[in-house]
Symmetry: C2
Subunit: 430 residues, 2 copies
């Protein structure tokens, strides 16, 4: 304890998370002093609009400024906390701070996923800490375990539910039988989806998080552009019902797998068995399932978003970098020493669940099976149901290259005896 020491923090951004940060810093002031060994003081708060009412935040109004860059450059600032989001101007501020040896705590997943390498390079140059627990899965302590606890082990695969909005929508579709549009509308009413939900429902948000997770899990560099991405807008009530018949649920998964000197990173809806730990992750919760060679299966579960959970993660990082500064050290930098190749989606190894509406006549199964064989895709199970106009085949394949599976489906669509390909979904976790 050294109550005469202070840690001076520049807060960039004062929206939901920033305001919550200000409140937590105020409320937990004594506890933070004890945990860090120094008093935390706000050096300034950079905002876009100075005149906006800050709802009675417990802070001196003189601390607000619209000049973030000058605030970052001030000599009396020890740590920069960024909760603004977006690529620019945040990137410029953080690189400036890190190069000058100021520790940075950020929740900015977009920036990390697009240009984490530049931030890490600036941190190395300035000998500064760069922490970003809040950037993936909100309050769930996840990056630190991946970065530190498991670094004596070899992670083979990470499977996550990292977007609360889509998980809320898919959970609602599973529970109520609603279609996508109806479930989205309900999510918007309840505040789980934004007015423009594109980033969530098209998988962009999950893809950014997948890039950060893959980089950490496999000690390499993966950017958002490397991530194969499909959203959930095409998931139908019939798909959800079809999954339920197989004892499965549909989740928007982010998957990062390592094989040999390559990683495969993808975001898409997939069926998983109800007995899988991820299947029980409901509402807007997040969870990340990690498979490691020695540790086996691990799962981390919690709230992925929201002002207070995100602020909690930021504050945890602030304590860590604060302690490092006071003891005159910094955390071991990230070691992106593996430099793995990113495997294209076509080469990823996946399984498909395919539902075909077919003509009810002899030889249909043989014809369909021949198409699979022609693409070297092995069939796991086939179920025939209905007669006449309702005749259907439900096929679940074994693992095969995604390109071979996609080509198989394309050729099935061309068959006369296939009236329609009613549902195509990847299957994971079994």
């Amino acid at each position: 304890m050294a109550p005469d020491r202070t840690l001076r923090v520049a807060l960039l951004g004062c929206g939901t998370v920033g305001a919550e940060m200000v409140r937590l810093l105020h409320e937990q002031s004594a506890d933070l002093t004890a945990r860090i060994g120094a008093r935390v003081e706000l050096a300034g708060i950079a905002v876009r609009r100075p005149g906006r009412d800050r709802g009675g935040l417990p802070v001196d109004p003189a601390l607000f400024t619209t000049d973030a860059l000058s605030l970052v450059k001030r000599d009396d600032v020890d740590v920069v906390v960024e909760v603004v989001g977006g690529i620019e101007p945040a990137r410029g501020w953080l690189i400036e701070a890190l190069r000058a040896g100021k520790s940075v705590v950020t929740a900015n997943k977009a920036l990390l996923a697009e240009d984490g390498a530049a931030l890490h390079a600036a941190a190395a140059e300035g000998g500064a800490d760069l922490y970003y627990e809040a950037a993936v899965a909100g309050a769930i302590p996840l990056l630190r375990p991946l970065r530190e606890s498991l670094h004596g082990d070899t992670i083979t695969r990470v499977t996550g539910i990292v977007n609360g909005t889509t998980n809320y929508i898919l959970s609602a579709m599973d529970e109520t039988g609603a279609g996508f549009a109806e479930a989205l509308e309900r999510a918007t009413e309840l505040g789980y989806a934004e007015a423009d939900p594109t980033a969530d429902i098209e998988g962009f948000d999950a893809a950014a998080k997948a890039a950060i997770l893959a980089s950490l899990a496999f000690h390499t560099r993966v950017t958002a552009a490397d991530v194969y991405r499909e959203g959930i807008t095409d998931v139908s009530a019939a798909d959800v019902a079809s999954a339920a018949e197989q004892g499965c649920v549909i989740k928007l998964l982010c998957l990062a797998e390592r094989s040999g000197d390559a990683v495969s990173v993808r975001v898409h809806p997939a069926m998983i068995p109800r007995s899988h730990p991820l299947a029980a992750v409901g509402d807007a919760f997040n969870a990340v399932f990690v498979e490691a060679r020695a540790a086996g299966e691990l799962m981390f579960y919690g709230r992925g978003a929201g002002g207070a959970p995100t602020a909690s993660a930021v504050l945890g990082d602030l304590v860590a970098v604060g302690r490092h500064r006071l003891s005159g050290v910094r955390a071991a930098g990230e070691s992106a020493y593996a430099d793995l190749r990113v495997r294209p989606m076509g080469q990823a190894s996946t399984r498909y669940h395919i539902r075909l509406d077919v003509a009810d006549r002899p030889g249909v199964l043989a014809t369909v099976a021949n198409v699979f064989a022609a693409h070297d895709v092995s069939i796991g199970t086939v179920r025939q149901s209905g007669r006449g106009a309702d005749a259907a085949l439900v096929i679940v394949t074994h693992l095969a290259p995604d390109a071979a599976l996609a080509a198989t489906v394309a050729q099935l669509r061309e068959l006369d005896i296939v009236r329609s390909v009613a549902s195509v979904l990847r299957v994971e976790g079994s």
Copy 2:
């Protein structure tokens, strides 16, 4: 990377976990060098019986010694890894190492739960790191998140399934309807229970882990002796069936709660709703559910035991302390600054589920309700079932001091109209 630098490790113990450590150090040698920035070398391996066949471990036989203390004292040892277990002689070795400034990684939950304070004091004295991720919930990265990621937040409650043997037994009872003795026998056959299962089934193992978890979560000192403990030997097939009727499962929970300046730490079987994330934790898996003021609900899930998972956790710690040594720093010591009072079990706030076999005559419910009222215990729900000799009352209370609930049950047993108290279980998680 400084491949010319080495980190010299003394390994104390070479049983299941120790042998797995030796194998992992050998197999992952290149990766470890990259992650730590130095080559890891075994300085020696202390064993009890030197002549025992080590099953072709990839290690020079000359490294084995029966003199652990001399090994610990050697000048060329940087880190001591202890996987022997038990209080003595492990305590002496580790205190010697820490005082001499050698970092310690240990999986010894019994020692930490009994005398963690002495180890932490020795670490502070020697300026050395003390890491023990493997001591609780095996491979699950749990202590580091509690110790570091959440230290900007306030944890209010920790609820864990931290003993794999009892979770296996209770899961089997729930799935098959088997009684305790039968499920234990099966667990023993499959190697999930030891020949003498006392430490597991009587809750001693869980109580040690509860003490460590509570100490970390609430920044205070709790020892195993402070923990209220009940095992699962009295859980009957009828209890499990009764829980199932209420939509619940029975789990052996460890609970640590903070209220005001006191903590309550307890281990006992309890009913939890099937919708609770902990209810889905099956087989021998472990999970810890954490509630924090800002972060909300978090859960950590994974394998709690086994050679490889435990070795993974030890290795993760080894990388951390190795990096600290090379950068000439140590982790922030534990700050047990709260010094909270341990509340006796009678003052813990709990809910009871009580099943009474009663006489089938008018006024029974009124008589029973009067007993609850006399102890100021509020009833949540009552269900009457059966007639004549099968007449039963199932009562679930609201929260009340455990002593008041226990006194209520004692008085119910004295009533003429109560033929027997068929089942008493605490209820959590709703």
